[in-house]
């Protein structure tokens, strides 16, 4: 009997103590998850080949050369990462190295004092700063201060097409909007979808608006929106952009069921290389993925690529590009000094080494470093790489993707309204009005 009671008492004691123990354990976590044992820094990166392997190799090479500054990487799926990193930063649980796309997202972190100001560090490392395309620093800069290291590659949005289908139809890739509209009719008559689109992902649909607005109204229109000028969204060019989108949807320009197709599953790319769709507007990163998945579609030269068509009477330069000028890495202000030092060392010696640069070129991407013309020219993918290089380096204006450039609040409203614009459940006028209400938010 006695034993029964004492065991009950100790159970109660255990039950009473457990919550405190749990709290104590979780309190330890504030120093940051994945805090690499024995010094070093933690980093979160995205899953998906070929970049995941490239990054892992770079981290491994850096770790074996600098055993005291090892980088511990955890990988996350793209869409999930975007939410997770925001929550982690807000909770003071961010990794040392914060990967992102610069622009509006970076500005929220900088405004909240969550990321390190790297301006003076870049000043004391001029070689590193001069290594990158000067244009890549734009989206890393907030109020004249640099908060992130540009890295990886430039990723413009490109109009891809299936050369086999174009030969079969006896047509040329579109140079103007009228060309595009007549191609829509040609391919629909042939029983092939004119344009592939992963519409459920929404940012895929956004790419069409980005180019159309640039071609119609020039880069100034979005610049005014970006700066939050009053009534910037009510510009007539925005309304015309929306009208053109809905004309294209009404003409069955996009593949039937595009709202059910996601870009994450790469189904939109598969439609292009299996010959179910003739054209696709997508990021240059899909080139590498199609080369890998497309069963020699790319290797046999069946993949064509052109600049976005021009629009009669439009103000934008036909050489203008849109897309991601680079990817970015910041250092968490909450990290320890030791972790920050490791991260800076990795930024300087580990992240854009010659091996990494070659790996990006081999996977069909253009790294954002200067002086790589020879390497690009000797690659089997030189046609595409030179095309992207010219777009990234020589474009009079290279607009960062809208959902990255704007604040998260405005970006979410934008994607939601674009979805409705493509569904024709709102008019171009309503689209402009809805977006106008988000200015300054």
């Amino acid at each position: 009997m006695k034993q029964f009671r004492s065991s009950r008492r100790s159970f109660l004691a255990l039950a009473a103590v457990t919550p405190f123990a749990v709290m104590a354990t979780s309190a330890c976590g504030t120093s940051g998850p994945g805090g690499a044992s024995g010094g070093g820094a933690s980093m979160w990166f995205l899953t998906g080949e070929p970049n995941q392997t490239t990054m892992q190799k770079a981290v491994d090479a850096f770790g074996s050369a600098n055993p005291d500054n090892k980088i511990a990487v955890t990988y996350f799926q793209n869409d999930a990462y975007k939410t997770k990193i925001k929550t982690a930063i807000g909770a003071g649980q961010a990794p040392t190295i914060i990967y992102g796309w610069g622009g509006g997202g970076l500005k929220t972190y900088a405004d909240a004092g969550q990321v390190e100001d790297l301006t003076s560090w870049f000043e004391s490392n001029p070689d590193l700063k001069n290594k990158f395309f000067p244009s890549s620093f734009g989206a890393a800069t907030v109020d004249g201060k640099i908060y992130a290291l540009p890295n990886q590659y430039v990723a413009p949005i490109v109009l891809f097409y299936n050369k086999d289908l174009f030969d079969k139809a006896g047509v040329q890739p579109p140079k103007t909007w009228e060309d595009l509209m007549s191609l829509v009719k040609t391919f629909n008559d042939m029983g092939v979808a004119p344009l592939s689109l992963g519409g459920q992902s929404r940012w895929t649909s956004m790419m069409w608006l980005e180019y159309l607005l640039d071609r119609i109204g020039g880069p100034e229109v979005f610049q005014a929106i970006f700066e939050g000028k009053p009534n910037a969204w009510m510009d007539p060019a925005v309304i015309e952009t929306g009208t053109k989108i809905q004309e294209l949807v009404s003409a069955d320009g996009f593949i039937k069921g595009f709202s059910s197709i996601t870009a994450d599953s790469k189904a939109d790319q598969a439609l292009l290389f299996t010959g179910k769709a003739a054209m696709m507007l997508q990021g240059s990163w899909t080139y590498g993925a199609m080369k890998k998945d497309g069963q020699n579609f790319v290797q046999n030269g069946k993949l064509g690529f052109v600049n976005f068509p021009t629009i009669a009477g439009g103000k934008g330069d036909p050489k203008n590009g849109v897309g991601n000028p680079a990817q970015y890495m910041s250092i968490s202000a909450k990290a320890t000094d030791k972790e920050k030092e490791s991260a800076k060392k990795f930024f300087k010696d580990g992240i854009m080494t010659d091996t990494v640069i070659d790996a990006y070129i081999n996977s069909g991407s253009v790294p954002i470093v200067t002086g790589i013309e020879d390497k690009l020219a000797s690659s089997p993918d030189k046609d595409f790489l030179n095309f992207v290089y010219a777009l990234g380096k020589d474009a009079p204006s290279f607009q960062q993707s809208w959902d990255q450039a704007l604040s998260p609040t405005a970006a979410e409203a934008l994607l939601n309204n674009i979805d409705q614009l493509f569904l024709k459940s709102i008019t171009p006028q309503q689209f402009a009005e809805n977006m106008n209400a988000t200015l300054g938010k």
Binding site: M1, F4, L12, A15, A16, T18, P19, T83, K86, T87, I89, G90, T108, Y109, D111, A112, Q114, G199, Q200, R202, I255, K256, G257, F258, S259, S260, I261, T262, S265, A267, A270, L271, K276, S407, P408, T409, A411, E412, A413, N416, D419, Q420, L423, S425
Partner: protein
């Protein structure tokens, strides 16, 4: 349960003493549970209430907002769209799931071998996580590379996730597919609790299977139905993962139910204040519904259904 079994082993005199002592210890036994409830339910709930009057982007400093969040959310047509969709999914889900799980529950309660084998198959969806279910359905329903193409059934090649009505119907179907097994399990347990003697008596009186079902099984399952319905109705307020992965609230806003609306506002648009307002609304609706369903059971719901047995 365990205390009664331990009593039986004790001699009579000690038994009464022990019972008194244990009764006085009982309130203390609830303390650990109460502690967890306060720390993980009550305090966060108060936190959300406070946040609903604040401006916060989830990263920077928290500032006072007064009534601003409440007025902006309550005047937002999106809230009423979400509310309507939430109730629509709740009601249709209940109408679809209750009869199916009731009948399946009665069927699997039988002792025949083949019923047990089928029951195992029915319970399979219960083992899968919502995210896995959603991803699998998304792949199967892809209009170009999905089931329709694989099986050569063109009528399956619909724009399932791209047409608002189809997407909503599909979500109700997938929710039912996933949760019917769970409610079947509840009904199966309920049916097995019904005393055999009731059926034997009915048989002597000449009642057939259908009459037995409506006059014995169904009335005896009253509280099981209430429990299952409460879980369905209150649970449908928090459907999130499945819809988030399957449609993300789209196309447009046509599957953006309240819980999803809260998440998108809070974690995508970084508007924690308005998201907290919706969280408070969700809590109030959930409590009201749970209370209402408890009332449906009548005042003497602790009373036995087996009086006279």
């Amino acid at each position: 349960m365990s205390s009664t079994t331990s009593h039986r082993a004790l001699p009579g005199t000690q038994k009464t003493r022990e019972t008194v002592k244990q009764k006085s210890a009982l309130p203390w036994l609830t303390l650990p549970a109460l502690f967890f409830f306060v720390v993980f339910a009550v305090i966060p709930l108060l936190g959300v209430l406070v946040l609903s009057f604040a401006n916060w982007d989830g990263i920077g400093a928290i500032g006072a907002a007064g009534m601003e969040n409440w007025t902006s959310v309550l005047s937002d047509p999106e809230l009423y769209n979400s509310l309507g969709l939430t109730f629509m999914i709740m009601i249709v889900s209940w109408l679809v799931q209750t009869p199916i799980s009731l009948l399946l529950g009665v069927f699997t309660a039988g002792t025949q071998r083949y019923r047990a084998a089928l029951a195992v198959l029915y319970f399979l969806p219960l083992l899968l996580s919502s995210a896995a279910v959603a991803i699998a359905y998304k792949a199967l329903l892809d209009p170009n590379f999905g089931l329709a193409m694989g099986l050569g059934l063109p009528f399956l090649a619909q724009d399932w996730l791209g047409v608002p009505q189809l997407a909503l119907g599909l979500i109700i179907f997938v929710i039912a597919w996933q949760f019917v097994p769970f409610h079947t399990l509840i009904y199966q347990g309920g049916v097995r609790q019904i005393p055999k003697s009731l059926y034997e008596a009915a048989q002597i009186d000449g009642a057939g299977t259908i009459k037995q079902f409506f006059h014995i099984t169904l009335p005896q399952l009253k509280y099981t139905i209430i429990t299952s319905s409460t879980l369905m109705v209150v649970g449908s307020l928090t459907y999130f993962d499945l819809i988030f992965v399957l449609t993300g609230g789209g196309p447009g806003n046509s599957t953006r139910i309240l819980a999803l609306d809260m998440y998108l506002r809070g974690f995508r648009a970084n508007l924690m204040g308005p998201a907290s307002v919706i969280a408070v609304i969700l809590v109030v609706i959930g409590l009201a519904l749970a209370l209402f369903l408890q009332r449906l059971g009548g005042k003497d719901q602790q009373g036995s259904q087996l009086e006279g047995m």
